[in-house]
Subunit: 111 residues, 2 copies
Amino acid sequence: MPSNLEATFAALGEPTRRAVVGLLSRGPRRAGDLADELGQSAPAMSRHLRVLRRSGLIAPEEVDADARVRLYRLQKAPFDQMRGWLDEVELFWGEQLDAFHAHVVARNGEQ
Amino acid sequence: MPSNLEATFAALGEPTRRAVVGLLSRGPRRAGDLADELGQSAPAMSRHLRVLRRSGLIAPEEVDADARVRLYRLQKAPFDQMRGWLDEVELFWGEQLDAFHAHVVARNGEQ
DNA sequence: TTAATATTTAACTAAAAACGCAACTACTGT
DNA sequence: ACAGTAGTTGCGTTTTTAGTTAAATATTAA
């Protein structure tokens, strides 16, 4: 389950896959149900799920009884990583804006 | 400047473009400087910048003096949209986990 | 006007992604 | 063993993406 930002963002850059994540946020589901709900063929959905699996965003539930059925579940790690990246970017960005503001204030005085 | 999630996530699914965003978070920069710092040819960088522009993640600064130079700057809206989407997903997800926890507690008693 | 600089666009190539259909795997139930 | 169900994979096709070189655009400086 290698969770890398590259694959995560790329996976979410596709509407069907974002919709899959949206549905899975409501609870785990089977591949076939996702295909039906999103109007995709079984092979197409299987491929989307593979992309999502490789990104680490989803994982098949531990198979218990019926191994024909794979219940997919959302994974937290990639979400944390994305938020971490966004936090980092916005942290420096904030400093930049602060510096810009200080610069304006230094030139024009407090508004 | 249509800022849609699809283009935003897709744009960030590429390492060079994420690096561009990282650099721009430290302050606005010219296309040529970004190309140099990231070891990309000018045309390649120009294309990456077009993708980022179309996603809404960056915008060229209002041209002031020298119009040969385009200073690119990060835009907040797409970041807010991404966080909004993540919030929504994790909101439902949280409810799901809460329900699961309640279910476990109901079966096994408080841990 | 001419040269120089910064950036984008055009045309092309190569690699990757997406989708349909058909075939295959793996398991269940009779 | 056989049929049925759930899901994945192989293959051919079409589209998209990323990169290159060369040319075009826009602006400043001489």
